[in-house]
């Protein structure tokens, strides 16, 4: 298990993506590009997960309280890679609402929404929360999004 300290040493991306194969691909590409990755498949996991790294090298979070505690205790998250449709009742927009509600330093962390859902209303809603990076998953290469993340840091 990687310690918080280890993750904090390098640039860290919180990846919230419900599809396992995609999550693994993003994780691999980000790590290959030198990022530390914290992964979650639901908003609940993102906020309340226990910090546990599984065999695939993902840090998984299991419950909202734990994740919030985790995020609060986390020294550094540099960017967030967020899918819109997630496991559970809450979607990416719910995450952004909660996340931005915390204010402070978090409001400055860039959020990259990478989703299959590209309805103009959804995109607009993200925009209202200050999230302007919106990618249609199947239309963009991993290296393209990763280099956008690098450029934003």
């Amino acid at each position: 298990m990687k310690t918080t300290k280890n993750i904090a040493e390098k640039r860290t991306v919180l990846v919230i993506e419900d599809d396992k194969p995609l999550l693994e691909a993003i994780n691999a590409k980000l790590e290959k590009s030198g990022f530390g990755v914290i992964a979650a498949r639901s908003v609940e996991q993102a906020f309340h997960g226990k910090l546990a790294k599984n065999s695939d090298g993902e840090v998984t979070i299991k419950s909202i309280e734990q994740a919030l505690d985790y995020l609060e205790s986390l020294e550094k998250i540099d960017a967030i890679w967020l899918d819109h449709h997630l496991i559970g009742k809450e979607d990416g927009l719910d995450f952004v609402k909660k996340f931005k509600a915390n204010g402070g330093r978090w409001s400055k962390i860039p959020v990259f929404v990478v989703s299959n859902a590209a309805s103009p209303n959804t995109v607009k809603s993200y925009g209202e929360f200050g999230v302007s990076k919106y990618y249609v998953k199947s239309d963009h290469r991993l290296d393209e999004i990763v280099s956008d993340i690098v450029a934003s840091l």
Partner: protein
């Protein structure tokens, strides 16, 4: 007679009597004769009268018969008229019942637009009572649009068909049929939503294939030998085509669902065009095409939806590239058609669209025969999408095309805009 003078006096007296008697007799005879004649005349007259009377009687009898006949036929006629009236009333009532019971809403107006028939379905569909509608002008009773010009009935999913009532070549009124198409709409919506959902679901595995192929090709999992690279390239490219198809299907379903949002914002049209050209530059170069881009000087910032304008330009330009052989030429020109409209003109020296298929070119899933024969892939959705977008934006699209050598096609798009340079 022997006359004797002695007795002359006596004789004379006697003679006088006799003479008088003779005269009398003579007169009597004359009277008798006259009477006989008169009697005969009378008899003849009587006979005549009898004949006449007889004739009269015949006529009278005949008249009586005729009168009887007339009376009878009058009675029959009366009865027939009553029966006929009854029949007519029954058939009229039946026809009225049929009209009023038609499942679709029916309104019939006279030549002045006054409502003369409204059936039950129309009352229900339009939410009005026949008493409030009959003998009134259609326009005062039924509001199809509100004050802002918004179609009110559109919310209710009602299709309206209007036809004139023509009698002896003259229009004597109007029939309006209101059909509740909620069901059809729902079925159509469900179908489109299915396509949309399916396409969304398809994007996840497509992304997985994309991203893993990308990482393999990038050597993230180690070096590939040339054959592996070649095969993987093929996987990647085919997957890209699938992505394009899914995107096109999603665009179609969103256009048909009406969820296609037009969101105008200040857009640098020239820059947008340059971006579109850059994206396709490699294709243009591969085919060694002569490409030119021209634009009017006053084209810069415009109030338009950049996403849609991009789709329109991308589609037409990629068609021009795809359907023009190597060494061909392509020109993109943007100009101000007038104060309110910009005109995008994309011309090529390509294969052209066959004359007999030009009316189908904007149809869904249609591809012209001459390009199907060529080794080019396409979904047949591009121009359908472009036309829908352009028309939803209040614009127009048309083209000139010929399959004659090197003539090619020219597509014209006119889009309304608000010039915000001023």
């Amino acid at each position: 007679m022997i006359e004797n003078t002695a007795n002359k006096k006596i004789i004379s007296a006697g003679d006088s009597i006799i003479y008088n008697l003779k005269v009398l007799a003579k007169e009597k005879e004359s009277v008798r004769r006259k009477l006989a004649v008169t009697a005969a005349k009378l008899a003849r007259a009587a006979k005549k009268l009898a004949v006449i009377a007889k004739e009269k009687e015949v006529v009278r009898q005949k008249l009586a018969i005729t009168a009887e006949k007339l009376k009878k036929s009058y009675e029959t006629l009366e009865q027939k008229v009553q029966e006929r009236t009854k029949d007519l009333e029954a058939s009229r009532a039946k026809e009225e019942a049929i009209l009023l019971s038609i499942g679709d809403g029916l309104l019939v107006m006279d030549e002045n637009g006054i409502i003369i028939i409204i059936n039950n379905a129309a009352e229900k569909l339009l939410g009005i009572k026949s008493n409030d509608a009959l003998d009134k002008a259609f326009s005062t009773v039924i509001r199809i649009t509100n004050d802002n010009g918004t179609i009110i009935l559109a919310d209710k999913h009602i299709a309206i068909t209007t036809t004139p009532v023509i009698l002896d070549g003259a229009v004597i009124g109007t029939i309006k049929i209101f059909r509740d198409i909620t069901n059809e709409r729902e079925i159509d919506k469900a179908k489109t939503e299915f396509v949309s959902l399916a396409s969304h679901q398809l994007r996840t595995p497509l992304s997985a294939v994309n991203w893993y192929a990308e990482m393999l090709l990038a050597g993230d999992a180690g070096d590939l030998n040339p054959k592996q690279k070649k095969y993987l390239d093929e996987v990647y490219r085919s997957n890209q085509r699938m992505v394009e198809l899914v995107n096109a299907l999603l665009d179609v379903s969103s256009l048909e669902l009406g969820t296609f949002v037009i969101d105008p914002e200040p857009t640098d049209v020239r820059l947008l065009a340059e971006n579109v050209i850059d994206e396709q530059k490699s294709e243009i170069d591969i085919k060694k095409m002569k490409f030119s881009f021209s634009h009017a000087k006053n084209i810069s910032l415009m109030q338009t939806d950049p996403k849609l304008l991009r789709m329109v330009m991308q589609n037409i330009l990629s068609n021009a590239i795809k359907y023009t052989p190597e060494n061909g030429r392509i020109n993109l020109d943007i100009s101000l058609k007038d104060e309110q409209n910009i005109m995008i003109k994309i011309s090529d020296s390509g294969y052209g669209i066959p004359k007999n298929q030009q009316d189908k070119i904007f149809g869904k899933l249609f591809r012209a025969d001459n390009v199907r024969d060529k080794d080019t892939d396409g979904t047949g959705l591009g121009l359908y999408i472009v036309k829908s977008i352009v028309e939803k934006s209040g614009g127009k699209i048309w083209f000139r095309s010929s399959t004659e050598k090197r003539t090619g096609s020219t597509f014209f798009v006119v889009l309304p805009h608000i010039n915000i340079n001023k």
